[in-house]
Amino acid sequence: MRDIRVQTADFDPATELARLEALDVGAVASFTGLVRGDDGVAALTLEHYPGMTEKVLRALGDEAASRWALAGVSLIHRVGRLGRGARIVFVGTASAHRADALESCAFLIDRLKTDAPFWKSEEVGGAPRWVAARDGDQEAADRWR
């Protein structure tokens, strides 16, 4: 099962988990990223590169499936304006082995952060500003290379 989507609409982690559980393989891992409410950011706006984004996410799904024994991968990323507490990204994996599910889930979110063409602009005090890339994200992605 491979479910890879870029969308403005919200998604339901429960629906995604249920699809992964239904694969009947024993281990399901997930990661959900949300707009944090603790740093004065009222909302984010996510821009992306249509076409390339989907291509990169599919390639990451393929790489995960080649490195770990996976029965299923869900990769959902939202774009557009997202308010405080809104879901941004979901990564879900299913495997017969818990290490495969957990590691591939971490791999997918780490590599998505540096490889997929999304850009966040945040609203603080009414004014939008572009979010700067973090060195830590590059380091987290590099440990999978």
């Binding site: 590169y49 998505l112 490889d115 572009w130």
Partner: protein, 85 residues
């Protein structure tokens, strides 16, 4: 040589347009040379291309380095380091 240029995020704001179709002189062989040539188009372009370290580039929707050769009809996108997830 016709090339489709795309700009995203802060780079798009600096340049002032999201896309432009340009006809590149035959003397321009690489993406690096293309960037230098585009930088001369306006003050906004100059600003966007001033610091290569904060610029990323994709050729036909694949992340590449600036020394990549340019081909006829390529789709070249310039953008800041990505910040999704």
């Amino acid at each position: 040589m016709p090339v489709q240029i795309l700009y995203f995020a802060k780079v798009r704001e600096e340049v002032g347009v999201a896309t432009e179709a340009v006809d590149v002189p035959a003397s321009i062989a690489t993406i690096s040379e293309l960037a230098d040539w585009l930088a001369c188009r306006s003050a906004g372009h100059a600003q966007a291309f001033a610091n290569r370290e904060h610029l990323r580039v994709a050729a036909d929707q694949v992340m590449v380095t600036f020394d990549t050769p340019l081909s006829d009809g390529m789709e070249i996108a310039f953008f800041p380091p990505v910040t999704g997830g």
